[in-house]
């Protein structure tokens, strides 16, 4: 795609002059802002704070599991840790990080002056910290925080719940509102705000993946809202949606939850595909191999995500037809995902590759995400899933796709665009340290979990049989090393904001896209008149 900015950024339409120089200072700037870059930065910082918060909970879990027996915490508090760790990482770390990237980059990538609905955008962000304040406040309740797992299966979250369910439910409602409004903004921005000449099939793949992800969000977050509402009425108003005594069914909870939950996991990985489809061509100095097949593959994965939910439920005693249907549909997902992995490999094939940090994270993403994909295929097979279900194998699988998948792609994106955001190059040595420490420790952390799971260690338990002790020791060491490695990133980002080598408008020679046609750091307002796309 060749782009050509014909407008001069200093040339303004008199109509929109009134929103200039409104950049307030201090707290009000951030509270009242309608600027997509401000909001994007807030999303990214919020997600990083949540990432560290959820990370500390993971370390509490790993400290307890360092050796068999109960050492540090009570089993109930252990359950609260696993629950809130999961909720925070899914809804507080990964999703807001992607929304932050979308906010920062989408308007610049499609040549729009801002997101389509800027005030709504501010609202979508600011309700999130409040939602997590409510969720975290439950730790100070007498009953403690939610302890039923992030999947809040009934009857754990209904009949057997502690006193925190109501606050949990309303916190999730707010997270859902935030996601839906954010997704509507993304969809409308992409459909309505593209610069003249940017047809759908000329959009960067990053834009495509966020477009499709936003549709998934609009479709399934309301279903989550319905699910938590039914949990609320079952717990406090005597309904029996998930109680057989009144004609309901606890398994129905799982169906409705996973109808949300499976598209949700693609919500957390499709944007990652978009990021590495941006970085790999840039550092391989070749256009993305098979652009249109990537678009169709993303759309296929999104479609399939709606008809595979019950593969989370193979052991619930579904009818045989259901087991087979969901097994085959799940395995079908390997086809479009395979298309993507092969396309990334083909993009690098005979490319003039250089290994800047964004590229390192992207390559690690391709390899390690593929491992997560393969373990997913193993889990998709109904007969063998009976063995793996609810073991550490599942934990290993989804941490490979979420940590070395989604999180690594976020790091790749952050390194790739940091010069554009801050105007400075990040410290290269520190970034290499961050990458290599993360890479080694994350595999020490998650790879042995495969063996633990295959050997039968159940997930979500504070104690375990003696034969699992050695692996758990190494896993815990890996966990602490991985957690500490992320502090390197924190230091690096702060240093990069405060100064460093001046970044040119386009610091990566192979990079493509409109965002590189504006100066670094990107001006507060960009593309007030749209660029021309050839």
């Amino acid at each position: 795609m060749t782009t050509d900015v014909i407008n001069d950024q200093s040339e303004h339409d008199p109509h929109d002059g009134d929103h200039h120089d409104h950049k307030m200072t201090g707290l009000k700037r951030w509270l009242y802002t309608t600027n997509h870059k401000d909001i994007g930065s807030m999303y990214l910082w919020f997600s990083f704070i949540m990432f560290l918060t959820g990370g500390v909970m993971a370390l509490v879990i790993r400290a307890e599991l360092f050796q068999p027996g109960l050492q540090i915490i009570e089993p109930d508090f252990f359950n609260q840790m696993t629950t809130v760790h999961g909720l925070i990482m899914v809804f507080g770390a990964i999703m807001p990080a992607f929304t932050g990237l979308a906010n920062w980059m989408l308007p610049m990538m499609v040549g729009a002056p801002d997101m389509a609905l800027p005030r709504l955008n501010n609202w979508s962000f600011w309700i999130l910290p409040f939602a997590f304040a409510i969720l975290l406040s439950t730790f100070f309740l007498e009953s403690g925080a939610p302890n039923f797992g992030w999947t809040f299966y009934a009857p754990l979250s209904t009949t057997y719940s502690n006193g925190s369910t109501a606050l949990f439910v309303f916190a999730v409602h707010i997270m859902g509102i935030s996601s839906i409004m954010g997704a509507i903004n993304i969809v409308v921005t992409i459909m309505n705000m593209r610069a003249p000449g940017m047809t759908y099939m000329k959009m960067p793949l990053f834009v495509w993946t966020f477009f499709i992800t936003a549709y998934l969000l609009i479709a399934v977050m309301p279903v989550l809202a319905g699910t938590v509402t039914m949990v609320l009425t079952d717990t406090y108003f005597g309904t029996s949606f998930f109680d057989a005594a009144g004609g309901g069914d606890p398994v129905m909870f799982q169906h409705i939850f996973w109808f949300f939950g499976h598209p949700e996991v693609y919500i957390m990985i499709l944007p990652a595909f978009g990021i590495v489809s941006t970085t790999i061509p840039a550092f391989a100095r070749k256009p993305l191999f098979g652009y249109s097949s990537m678009v169709y593959a993303t759309a296929s994965i999104a479609f399939l995500s709606f008809i595979v939910w019950a593969h989370h439920m193979f052991t619930t005693g579904m009818p045989l037809f259901g087991e087979l249907f969901f097994m085959y549909c799940t395995m079908l997902i390997a086809v479009p995902t395979g298309v993507k992995v092969f396309n990334w490999a083909a993009t690098m094939w005979r490319g003039s590759i250089s290994f800047e940090t964004p590229m390192l994270f992207s390559i690690a993403f391709v390899i390690l995400f593929t491992i997560g994909g393969f373990s997913g295929l193993m889990l998709a097979m109904t007969p063998v899933d009976f063995q793996y279900h609810d073991t550490y194998f599942v934990v290993a699988h989804f941490h490979y796709v979420l940590v070395t998948g989604a999180l690594f792609s976020i790091f790749a994106g952050a390194y790739y665009w940091l010069p554009k955001w801050t105007g400075y190059m990040y410290n290269d040595t520190l970034s290499k340290w961050h990458f290599w420490c993360s890479l080694v420790s994350v595999n020490l952390l998650f790879f042995p979990m495969h063996f633990l799971g295959l050997a039968g260690m159940p997930r979500r338990i504070p104690d375990y049989a003696l034969q699992f002790a050695d692996f758990n020791k190494w896993v815990s060491i890996g966990g602490f090393a991985f957690g500490l490695s992320q502090l390197i990133f924190l230091v690096l980002v702060i240093k990069c904001i405060r100064g460093g080598d001046k970044a040119p408008a386009k610091p990566w020679d192979g990079a493509e896209g409109l965002e590189w046609t504006v100066p670094s750091p990107a001006p507060y307002h960009t593309f007030e008149t749209p660029p021309k796309i050839d």
Partner: protein, 294 residues
């Protein structure tokens, strides 16, 4: 896009309304959470008051926010493209509402098709029925639950049928109001829109009567009367909340019409309210079929 000359897209200056809305939602969630947690002992927490404060604040926010939008729109700051953003935003919002109802319809259909027959031994569940619920017979509406709670089913004739006719009529009158607006017949517009609001209010009144019947001793149809009562009240209840919201939206539009707002070409807010109204109407038709008739 084939515009020769690009219209500038209005990016609003900083606004205090979103953060007020965020605080309002926070108060609503904390208040409702505390209130629900202490249902047995409502005086133990001030949850109800926090909830009311949150609702008051969000009403204040909606007025302030929409006031800004209306002022900007009347000042001619919005382009055609902005209008498109609003329309698309509203459409996707309505789609998300459809999916919210889908969750509850899903629960209804799952209970009817799977869980209730299974409790009576359908499929490979003979042992479930024989050991756990030997006296249970699967029926729909489920008027006797496995644990023996008895209730009465709500018929489709009478009030529900009247309500169906009311809502269907109101969709037609809303459409007539829209046509009148586009043809610049302000008198007819006021008449049709006013009639739509009245129909909405009458619907809500009838719904209230129906609930009173349900909760009366002859019917004993309560929210906690097993899966039939659960789905009945949650589906009709959430629908009723949406009708209430839609009626308020239409009422605001009526007030704006009397103030002389809207032109045949520029009336997004009216259009949005009318879309929303058609949406609650469609939901009702599906609800009438699956909750009442079948």
């Amino acid at each position: 896009m084939t515009t020769k000359e690009y219209e500038s897209y209005y990016v609003p200056a900083q606004s205090k309304w979103p953060i007020i809305g965020a605080i309002a939602l926070f108060l609503i969630a904390v208040g409702a959470g505390n209130y629900v947690s202490n249902l047995n002992n409502p005086e133990a927490s001030g949850g109800g008051w926090v909830l009311l404060a949150g609702i008051a604040l969000i009403i204040y926010m909606v007025f302030g926010w929409f006031n800004n939008v209306i002022t900007e729109s009347m000042a001619g700051k919005y382009s055609h493209q902005m209008d498109n953003s609003f329309r698309q935003g509203m459409s996707w919002f309505i789609f998300s509402e459809v999916m919210f109802f889908a969750a509850f319809f899903g629960a209804l259909l799952y209970a009817r098709t799977f869980s209730v027959p299974w409790l009576d031994g359908a499929g490979n569940n003979a042992a479930t029925a024989a050991i756990l619920w030997p006296d249970f017979t699967a029926t729909w509406p489920l008027i006797k639950t496995p644990d023996g709670t008895e209730t009465t089913a709500m018929g489709w004739y009478g009030l529900p049928l009247i309500n169906t006719i009311l809502l269907l009529t109101s969709s037609i009158t809303a459409h007539f109001a829209h046509v009148s607006l586009e043809q610049e017949k302000r008198g007819l517009l006021k008449f049709w829109l006013g009639l739509t609001v009245v129909l909405g209010v009458v619907f809500l009144f009838c719904q209230g009567l129906e609930y009173a019947h349900g909760y009366a001793d002859e019917m004993k149809l309560y929210l906690d009367s097993g899966i039939y009562g659960n789905t009945f009240y949650l589906l009709t209840g959430f629908h009723g909340m949406h009708v209430t919201l839609g009626t308020i939206m239409l009422l605001v539009m009526l007030i704006r019409v009397f103030k002389g707002h809207f032109t045949p070409k520029n009336h997004f807010a009216f259009q949005a309210a009318s879309w929303y109204w058609h949406f609650v109407d469609v939901v009702w038709v599906i609800l009438f079929v699956f909750v009442y008739i079948i």
